[in-house]
Every structure is written in C-alpha cells, then in structure tokens.
Symmetry: C2
C-alpha cells in the first residue's frame, strides 16, 4: 500500500462518526436542522497542482471550480467557501480570479485564513452546500443493468493544458477555467443511481465508481464524446480536469439534460472497467496521465 493510501486508510479509521461519509466518498454529508449539508475540502500545491508561472487568477478559479464540481456531483446548491491562502507570487491576480469565479457561480466567500510561509504556495478551499435532493447521490449506487452516462466531452482540458504549456494560439480556457456543472447536477440528482465528477480521468473515475458500487462498467470507447482529434481518443479517456459528471441511470431512463450514454453496468466480477471488451487494470493505464 502506498504512503498516501495507508494514510487515507488510517484517516478513515478515525472518521468513525456515523454522519461522516467524507473520506470514503469525497464529500461529507451531514444532517442538520432538516437540511442536508454537503462539505468538501481540496488542497492544491504549486509545482504539483499548478505551475509556478501560472496566472494566479486561473489558480483561484480552478481551486473554487473543482470544489464546486464536487458539490455539483451531489446535486447540491453551494452556500459558500472558506479559503486557506498562503501568500504567493501574485496575490492581486489571485484575488481577481477569486472574485471572478465566485461571481460567476454566485457563491459567497464565508471566511478563511491567510499565512506567510517559505516554500511552494499551498492553498486550501472548503466548499459548503445544501442538498437539493435526498438521498444524496453517491458514487456507490450503480446497479447491474444501469446505463452509464457522461454530461459532455472529455479531452478539452488536455488540449487546453498543451496550448498553455506550449504557448500556442489554441484556446486554453477549458484547462484554466473549468466549469462546475451545478445546474446539471441538480437536475440529475433525483434520477441517478450513482454520480461523481470526472476530475482524474474518465477511466480512473469510472473504475472508482464501479468498485464503490460493486459492479463492472462495460464502456464503449467510441461512444465517449471527445473534444480532441480522433487519434488522441485513448489519451482523452485518461486525462482529467474536464469536470464532466459521470452518472448511472436505470435501464431505459432518459436524462433531463444533454448527456451521452457510454456503457452499461453489469454484475461481472471481471474488472471494474471493461473497455471495448477488454478488462482494464491500473497497470494497463487506467489512470490520470498528463502526456
């Protein structure tokens, strides 16, 4: 077991509160006063999650949008965010991007903390939302026979990353300014058997959902919409950060929003993901790869 996996397993051991589902399922779900709160926290480090020279406004945008995307996958309405901010190379640009993303999604900044420290900049964000539908969608609810859907194409962030890295004329917005699909998540929440956002790559996140649900996902690679040249389909299926919603619906059910069916869940114990008839394993490149 990796150092990270061992630590997270130990954290889960500590998180024994019946209301605490957070460490097992990304967001925490908490009942209070007749409402269901959804909480999520992400940390991002310079040199790992963003580049030292990257526009701090884009860093702020992604920090907020990626957390709101977690709320979207729960069908939650955001109530606000709290920011843990280590002063960095361009605080003014960070503030500009923070204001832009909060205004864009209509989400208030509730509080936070600022620190000065040496070393790479580390940022944290907590997002709080209220569930609009109960039970709250989880990644563990997919059942054999369910259809597997995605809200839109993958691969756009990959192309955007390359445009930014190589300073080409191509549009890098999909990588720099991802969108949290909050309205889609709310529309889907009452209907889905399982839902999560695709942040680490479609195949890796699909395998997580399949494992959590105890099913196998048969995915037809050609059915997955991609925003990249056909020659790069395999990469697009593994690249992350597009923040589409991946969800399952009972057989025959139609989603109330634009979405694309990419496969079917089965009771097979073969592998979490079977792509075009071939079982995928982590060794075979299931995961998130920045090419």
């Amino acid at each position: 077991m990796s150092r990270e996996a061992a630590f997270i397993a130990a954290l889960r051991g500590i998180a024994t509160h019946p209301a605490a589902r957070g460490l097992a399922d990304d967001c925490a779900v908490l009942e209070i006063g007749g409402e269901t709160l959804i909480l999520t926290h992400d940390a991002m480090a310079e040199g790992v999650h963003f580049l030292p020279g990257q526009d701090a406004a884009d860093v702020a945008w992604k920090l907020v949008a990626s957390n709101l995307s977690d709320l979207a996958a729960k069908g939650a309405e955001p109530l606000g965010v709290l920011l843990g901010y280590q002063f960095g190379p361009d605080d003014a640009r960070f503030l500009a991007g923070l204001e832009e993303v909060l205004v864009h999604f209509g989400v208030p900044l509730l509080g936070g903390d600022t620190i000065s420290a040496t070393g790479p900049q580390v940022l944290g964000l907590t997002a709080l939302g209220r569930a609009t539908h109960r039970p709250v969608p989880a990644r563990s609810g997919a059942r054999p026979g369910d259809a597997i859907w995605i809200t839109g194409p993958v691969g756009a962030a990959m192309l955007g990353f390359e445009a930014l890295r190589d300073a080409t004329a191509a549009d890098s917005a999909a990588f720099r300014r991802p969108l949290a699909r909050l309205a889609d998540g709310r529309a889907l929440a009452p209907l889905v058997s399982a839902m999560m956002d695709v942040s680490d790559g479609l195949l890796l996140d699909a395998s997580r959902m399949a494992r959590a649900s105890g099913v196998s996902f048969a995915i037809d690679s050609m059915a997955v919409p991609i925003a990249a040249p056909e020659a790069r389909r395999a990469e697009a299926l593994r690249w992350g950060e597009d923040y589409q919603l991946l969800f399952t619906l009972p057989e025959g059910a139609e989603p109330p929003i634009t979405a694309f069916q990419i496969g079917t869940a089965s009771a097979s114990a073969e592998a979490p993901v079977v792509l075009d008839g071939l079982p995928l394993t982590e060794a075979k490149g299931l995961g998130y790869e920045h090419s």
Copy 2:
C-alpha cells in the same frame, strides 16, 4: 498597510454575502434549516506556526484545538472538522495526535484532502459547529460600562514553549496541547455582550475586541491571572496560545463559571486598551511576542 492587511481588506470586499461575517469576525455565521452554523478555517505552516522538529502529534492537536477554540468563543457545539493535509516528516505521529484530539473533544473527522508537495509542510483545518445560543456572541458587542472577564490564567503556553525549546524538565503541555473551552463558551454564550478566544495575546486580542466594539478597555494588569512568575507578568499579558475566553458582561452580572474580572469598558476614545491608566499602542508592545 501591510501586504497581509491589504489582502484581507480585499477579501472582505469580495465577501459581500449578507450571511458572511467570517472575514470580519474570525468565524462565519450561516443560517440554515432553522439552525445557525459556525464555520472557521485555520492554516498552519512548518517553520512559522510549528517547528520542523516538533512532534507531529502535538501539531495535529493544536491545529484542531485552535479551531475548536474559535467555535468555543461562539458558544458553538462542534459538528466536525475537515483536514487539508500535506504529507510531512511523521505522518503516523500526526495521525496519532489527530485521533487523540478528536476523541478528547468528541468531534468527528468529516473529510478532507491529502497532497504531496515539496517544501515546508502546510496544513489546513475547517471546523464546523452549530450555535447553541442566538444571537451568536461576537467580538463587537462590548458596551461602555461592561465588565471585562477572562476564563483563566495567561502565560502557561509561554512557559510550556520555553520548556519545549530548552528541553527542560518543566511541563510543556500547555503549549503543546492547548484546550478549547467549549463548555465554558456554551455556558457564557447566553450572557455575554462580546466574546472571543485569546490566541494572539491578551492585550492584542483585547484591543481587537475594543476596536470592533467601538469602546476602550481599561485593564488592571494585576487583576489578570497569570501562570508565570510575577516578574514575567508583562510578557504573560502579551504572549498568546493560552486559548482562554475573553468576554464582557453587563455591569454587576456574574459569570456562571469560574472567571476573573480584569477591567471595564468605557466610551473613551483614548485608545482601545488602557493598561493601568496608560493608553497602549501597537508601537508600545501591544502584540504577540515570542520572547
């Protein structure tokens, strides 16, 4: 204006949501489902808030206890915490301390995130609680004529810090394992006109409360209980991290718990804090000083 002050002023400009009082008053206060949520977030960095060689279990303890102390000052009952954890020099000790402090205060770990990054370890914690009394105590409520109280002695953390730094036989627990006065905060919340925790030094925090309330605090230094030799009284009044609760009560009111009256609020515009008849300014050593 310092870089930090300018950034925080800008953040306050962004935090325009009517429910958002967080950046002006430490904790965010949010009404939902007939309940009042209290949220706070603190970040801590190796080399700034803790020493590189410090026991990671103590770091975990203080990270949690300092956030719970913010909830205590609101009279809140903790609902849980979310952790932003950058892997560090001793993850196993961190986990041990985390479990100890959560069990001690009976608070669940709801979720969080882990990251690997180079550079000094940066940690973040969000604590969530529910108010047990409304209106929620704020630091801005002190009125002329109110008596100023503190729940216990200051200076213990100072001595604990020195014991740890100098590796003496003296007890360092007050510095390593501070307590959040949650029960005291709940008992006081219905009665106080203002309340906050003393984390940055009694005189500095008292000046913040006085400023926020638009009053002046006349403090009698000899009335302040100290857990240090008499010769070090002046330092004890300026050292932080004891996490006592500082609060004001209407004249004549008695606190329902053990507490010590240290002064009186007045409408004087002289200075936020007048110590033994002398107005204190920041230039005169109001603040937090690790001697």
